[in-house]
């Protein structure tokens, strides 16, 4: 029993319409990396939220260091040396690194032994020391707003270390990182373990688990499936347990049949708010029946290309043709009607209205047209019927069907809702930006199959992804972007993963 630093026994947690955790029991040893594997909505985050004090379990007990505890708040969890590195960072952009880290636990000194003040200088020094100790070098006086995503994550990690966490929970830490950054982070996590910390890693990326984890618990639909020793278990077996069926990592697809040209982009240039050219003179074409993927490291202009085609960003040079029509200066709605479906990168702040219900979100691109409305009056019944139709057709799961507030749905099902809505538009061009980000393996496979199916039905598909595996798997043609310029356009058969990687890093030019 004292073997385990954390024990969760027979934990059950229910939410309206759903059992998030059903009689889950796990034990975590001191000084190990324990991975929690499961699809979106499998209950990993809920389970860990109970450990970090965000929720209390409906049934079951939690033991920390052999003692039964009721963790009632994140502060209480911090007192038990439990810290969570959240997937969505909780930082104040206008504060410096130090200010963010000490927020809530400010070190108070007294000026002339009388007037209390926050001793920033001392805190700066302490944080610099801490960051060096764990290989997480940061400049403590920098503002969060000026940091990259991976640096912000370092701050989150430092925040829990500063609170002297012994048990660190990482919630999908690699979802927002580039491949290099992922390697670095995994190194850090291993380092933390080696210095005696206990790590809980929530993820659905099997390679990461294979790389660093010691043991791994698999959850499926709220139930614990198995606890595995990672070294002796194959990736395939883990995936199978997680999804509950066989998974193929390679999508089945018939050779592409290119037909007429659908999208033509000529010398596209896009400037950002500071007037800096973030997309430079990009030209390419996509045909009916073709999946054209843009590969590249994050922030090299690929998202801006998608936004420019969909009309969300202004074009400062060049032209965009859809089925021969110049759409360069059309409004967003005009483009949608001309024939563009767009699955945006940020589904929560662009793709959906989180406070609206599911049926409304599904009808978002058509609400103003017949039969959803006539003469400016909405037809609620039509919304509901349409909602039921798409929910059935695309197997969108939610607590209260069409009435569900989208905010309460899992990430994977939110994404399904967007894809369902966009496929239903039957647009000749479909743009997918990071369609599988933060989505579990089963759903990834599903999304890839849907893309290929749409291609086979004669759609032109533009895929923008940071996952090279995904691109190599589904693309027919690959364009590699670096620094806002397309370095190389070639068919996917003619390129190896390594070559694409080299173009991505700007190491190789045409």
């Amino acid at each position: 029993m004292s073997d385990y630093i954390v024990e969760m026994k027979h934990i059950t947690k229910r939410f309206p319409g759903i059992v998030a955790n059903d009689d889950v029991s796990i034990g975590i040893k001191k000084g190990e990396i324990f991975a929690l594997l499961g699809e979106n909505g499998a209950g990993k985050s809920t389970l860990m939220s109970m450990l970090s004090g965000l929720y209390e379990p409906d049934e079951g007990d939690i033991y920390i260091r052999g003692e039964k505890v009721q963790i009632s708040s994140p502060n209480h969890a911090a007192n038990l040396n439990i810290g969570m590195v959240h997937q969505h960072f909780k930082l104040v952009p206008d504060y410096t690194i130090t200010e963010n880290i000490i927020l809530g636990v400010e070190p108070i000194s007294k000026f002339v032994g009388l007037f209390p003040y926050v001793d920033i200088r001392n805190a700066n020094r302490k944080i610099e020391e801490l960051s060096k100790n764990f290989g997480l070098e940061v400049d403590p006086t920098k503002k969060i707003a000026d940091l990259t995503v991976s640096m912000q994550q370092r701050v989150e990690i430092l925040k829990v270390l500063y609170r002297e966490a012994e048990i660190l929970i990482f919630d999908e830490p690699t979802a927002v990182l580039t491949p290099q950054e992922i390697d670095f982070l995994l190194g850090i996590i291993e380092g933390l373990r080696n210095s005696g910390k206990t790590i809980i890693l929530i993820t659905h990326k099997l390679e990461e688990i294979k790389k660093v984890a010691d043991r791994c618990a698999v959850l499926n639909k709220g139930k614990l499936v198995d606890v595995l020793d990672v070294k002796t278990t194959s990736v395939n077996h883990m995936a199978q347990l997680m999804v509950g069926r066989e998974v193929s990592f390679k999508s089945e697809k018939v050779p592409a049949q290119f037909k007429e040209e659908i999208l033509k982009v000529e010398h596209l240039t896009v400037k950002n708010e500071d007037g800096f050219e973030i997309v430079k003179d990009v030209s390419f074409t996509i045909h009916s029946g073709e999946i054209f993927a843009i590969a590249g490291v994050a922030d090299n202009g690929q998202v801006e290309i998608a936004d420019a085609i969909a009309g969300l960003t202004k074009v400062s040079g060049g032209k965009i043709f859809l089925e021969g029509k110049d759409i360069t200066n059309n409004s967003i709605r005009k483009r949608t009607e001309t024939g563009i479906s767009y699955i945006p990168e940020d589904r929560q702040s662009f793709g959906l209205f989180l406070d609206f219900d599911l049926s409304t979100n599904l009808a978002l691109k058509q609400y103003y047209k017949k039969p959803f409305s006539s003469r400016g009056i909405l037809n609620k019944q039509e919304f509901e019927q349409f909602g039921h139709k798409l929910i059935d057709q695309f197997d969108i799961r939610s607590g209260q069907s069409i009435k569900t507030q989208v905010r309460s749905m899992s990430g994977g099902n939110q994404q399904k809702a967007i894809i369902a809505r966009e496929i239903d538009l039957q647009s000749p061009l479909m743009i997918f930006v990071q369609p599988t980000r933060g989505v579990d393996i089963g759903a990834i496979e599903n999304i890839h199959n849907m893309m290929i199916q749409q291609r086979d039905q004669g759609k032109a598909i533009l895929l923008i992804s940071l996952e090279l595996d995904e691109i190599m798997n589904v693309a027919d043609t690959i364009g590699v972007i670096y620094n806002g310029q397309l370095q190389k356009i070639a068919s996917s058969e003619s390129l190896t993963t390594n070559e694409v990687g080299e173009y991505m890093m700007g190491a190789k030019h045409e």
Binding site: L312, P344, F356, G376, L378
Partner: protein, 383 residues
Amino acid sequence: MSKNKMKKSLSYRLFWPIRNEKWQQITIPVASILISFIAAAIVILLLGKNPLQAFYNLFQGAGIFPKSSYAGYKSILTDFLSLLNAMTPLVFASLAVAVALRAGLFNIGVSGQMLVSGFLATIIVGYSGLDAIIAKPLVLLVGIVAGGLMGGLVGWLKYRFNIHEVVSTIMLNYIAQYVISFFIQMYYIDPISRQSKYISEAARLTLVNVEIANLKMNIPLGFILAIIIAIFIKFLMDKTVVGFEIKAVGSNRNAAKYTGINVGRNTVLAMIISGGLAGLAGVTYYLGYFSSIQPKVLSSIGFDSIAVALLGNSHPIGIIFSSFLVSIIDQGSTYMSSQAGIRQEIASVIIGLILLFSACGEYFKHKVSRLKDKEVDRKDSES
């Protein structure tokens, strides 16, 4: 376990309507009002008076309960009509705030918009000598157009130059207040009352001293319009494409843009509607409840309406009720002070308390849901 669930504690049953989310829209404001009346009762008790008596007087003065005696040509009906007369501009103003709030905009320029539309209607129609049948609709039209343009300007400034609406409406309030004051002082002043000259009876939206059944009544024509407009706004926001787009912009501007909704146009449109409603508040106030304009003074209605809209959950029908309540206290205060010997200012204190507690509605909601969670947890651990 099932037995435990059956046996609900008294507090559980007592608070059930507040817990139930469906009813919260109504129960939370009602609870706010009850709490504020209790707080007001304590204040009155501290003054050594009987709070029940005071509240009763308040309702008597507003024409809800009968007074013990009435002057000639007066009755409970005349009091009640005065109440509706005073309430009319408040309904319009609160609707103006609510529509803007739905679009994610904070229109605190209702007072300025009221003044501009009231002033323009006064000089264009009020002094024109037109027949009532033309003058009255024309007053409404001028009010809507003037207010709408003024609101639209705010929306346009936000959309075109990204000027925050709170800043621009405050500034426009000052501009309206002083520019109009200048014109009134220079051209339209009544030397005796030191206000603008009275408008013609034909242009006035309240029929004054109408004699029916030996009573002299003020009949507020605008009140009927206010009810119709409130229902129309509810329909507009809930059932139409226009309302949907405004709510979408208010809920998430990014997603609205992505959807293809013209964010700029809807921002301007929402402010035009809001301003138009403020314009109606202006004409029913300056050309209905009053018939002249006091220079250099902004009506407090524009600011009270923010809280009244919140008390009514930004819901048009809710706003009718919240305006009704606030107007009762406002109107009844004179009678209360004369009958119960409580200073009129106490009425303002009560209104202030109601508005304060209504602003805390979100906090109550939060507290209640926390309580609920805790109770569920406890029950589960008991079983």
